[in-house]
């Protein structure tokens, strides 16, 4: 299998073309959005809780096959788990599921959704932010 075929393996293309958990939640308990500043990939995620459990989670976004497929896989992985558990979920757990060789640039694409989800959980449940999301400040000019 060529390098290209292993990157764009069937399951990735399937999640890209038919994303799971794609859409919006009416009146979500928490939501967040994020961009990959390198390439402009965008993902927004909404979560609703039942107690501490993630009852529903949905995403919307524009981006490459890797970022959108990885976020789609993430939706399947986190539904029904506790906010605490998902907030401490390792990147490796997601990357194992994605299961393709990634260069450092594409790694950022694959991990965008996980970062945004953890940001939403932080906002909604006060769970810790992952390191790469700490200290973000906005220059709000208007």
């Amino acid at each position: 299998m060529s390098e290209l075929d292993s990157l764009y393996r069937e399951v990735i293309l399937d999640h890209y073309k038919n994303p799971r958990g794609h859409g919006v939640i009416d009146g979500p308990d928490a939501e967040a959005e994020g961009q990959n500043p390198l390439c402009g990939d965008e993902v927004s995620i909404a979560v609703s809780f039942e107690g501490d459990t993630i009852a529903d989670v949905k995403f919307q976004g524009r981006g490459c096959a890797i970022s959108q497929a990885a976020t789609s896989m993430l939706m399947d992985m986190v539904k029904g788990r506790s906010a605490e558990e998902v907030a401490s979920m390792s990147r490796e757990e997601l990357l194992d599921e994605v299961g393709i060789p990634l260069t450092p640039v594409r790694l950022k694409c694959a991990l965008l959704g996980l970062g945004v989800l953890k940001l939403a959980l932080h906002k909604g449940r006060g769970t810790p932010l992952p390191e790469e999301w700490a200290g973000l400040e906005e220059l709000e000019l208007s």
Binding site: S2, E3, L4, L13, C39, G40, L139
Partner: protein
């Protein structure tokens, strides 16, 4: 028969000057279609860097020994070349910076902080690279000035008729505009903007990062007030750029960075600034990089900027035709004759990142993303494009290989 010297270049021969093309990428010859991002380097530039370090290197402007004098001569010689390259009246107006971004920040801080305030209006364009957008947005905010962007039309060209309406927002003090758009290749009507700005006593800042490597740039003919460009996009090393400014403006400006070299006299009570251009060059400058830029200027002028411009115009027109044949491909920006050697496009249903990844497997290097042009992407309703850009070493066959790669991407994602 009339004899007209139509300058032409031999891209195959030029290519042999660039060692990077002697290798294969993924088992294929390298098709480097990302020169708008950064250019490759010819042997004369690499040799100049090495020879300078091996024979003439010392710090500049402070040594009395022989090596220091050689280094001074090389560094000042590079400044002469940079000044002549853009037809500056004097090298006092030619300041070395780290890159175009630093040059534009130098103007924004050095001129903007002292000359802008409430009631003033700073105008940029929707086409601007973030480096000629964000510094002005920030300095306008710091000084209380208003900030607006000249919009573009559906062809990616500036809508100058919008200027009248924009003007009603405040006293126009500064217009910042790129010479050539880094995403769309649009060549902007700088003469008209210069005239419009000067009628209002405003200054015109030109970002020439995408023009200086590819076409003749003449600051006097452009009638601009400031102009910035960078070495690494024009066959030179990274870490060296140039900002040019009108002498009377530079003389009245505050320094940007402070420290050694930029001073005349320092006491505990007060410090006075050095003469131009040293007032704006604090600390040890990028000496060897300036020498490398000088060698790059020699190389480009040896080939001829008119010949480079013409070669790229032919490639652009060829690429426009070939890309138009690809089903589902959308091209952005003006028609080929109204743009420089930059082509941005999208393949329906495939993100630019994926397009770039697929063509990379064919040895073709293109840029994918927002190209530091987020306001432009927003205006076009996009998050990203794929961009191919050409230079003096680009061959039509490389464009063919890009097109083959695009067909492969379509097949993979079908």
């Amino acid at each position: 028969m009339a004899v007209t010297a139509q300058p032409r270049l031999d891209a195959e021969r030029i290519r042999a000057d660039f060692p990077i093309f002697e290798q294969e990428i993924h088992g294929k010859p390298l098709a480097y279609l990302d020169s708008a991002n950064s250019s490759q380097k010819p042997r004369p530039v690499l040799d100049a860097l090495r020879t300078f370090y091996e024979t003439s290197y010392a710090n500049v402007h402070r040594a009395v020994y022989e090596l220091g004098l050689r280094s001074d001569a090389a560094y000042d010689g590079a400044r002469q070349k940079a000044g002549a390259f853009i037809n500056a009246e004097t090298t006092a107006e030619v300041v070395f910076t780290r890159n175009a971004t630093e040059g534009l920040n130098l103007i924004a801080y050095g001129w903007g902080l002292d000359n802008l305030g409430p009631g003033d209006l700073v105008l940029v364009t929707e086409l601007e690279h973030h480096s000629n957008f964000v510094p002005w947005q920030y300095i306008a905010h710091r000084t209380g000035a208003d900030f607006a962007a000249i919009p573009i039309d559906e062809n990616g060209e500036l809508r100058l008729e919008a200027l009248d309406e924009l003007e009603s927002r405040g006293r126009v003090k500064l217009v910042a505009c790129g010479f050539v758009s880094n995403s769309l290749g649009t060549v902007n009507p700088l003469e008209r903007l210069a005239a419009w700005a000067h009628e209002r006593d405003a200054v015109l800042v030109v970002d020439a990062a995408q023009a200086a490597p590819h076409r003749p740039v003449d600051v006097q003919a452009l009638e601009c007030d400031f102009l910035a460009f960078t070495g690494h996009k024009m066959c030179g090393p990274t870490g060296i750029g140039v900002v040019w400014g009108r002498r009377e403006l530079l003389e009245r400006m505050s320094p940007f960075e402070l420290g050694g070299e930029m001073i005349r006299k320092v006491t505990v009570e007060r410090t006075t600034w050095n003469e131009l251009p040293h007032k704006f060059e604090a600390g040890t400058p990028p000496i060897a990089q300036a020498v490398g830029l000088g060698a790059a200027i020699d190389y480009l002028t040896g080939v001829g900027l008119e010949a480079i411009e013409r070669h790229e115009a032919e490639l652009t027109s060829y690429a426009w035709g070939r890309l138009s044949e690809v089903p589902g491909l959308i091209l952005y920006g003006p028609s080929p004759e109204r743009r420089a050697g930059i082509v941005s496009f999208n393949l329906e249903g495939i993100h630019p990142h994926d397009v770039a990844q697929v063509v990379d497997s064919e040895g073709v290097a293109v840029r994918a993303g927002h190209h530091c042009n987020q306001p432009l992407m927003t205006s076009l309703g996009l998050s990203a494009t794929t961009r191919a850009s050409f230079y003096l070493y680009t061959l039509p066959e490389e464009i063919d290989r890009l097109v083959d790669g695009l067909h492969r991407a379509r097949k993979l994602f079908s």
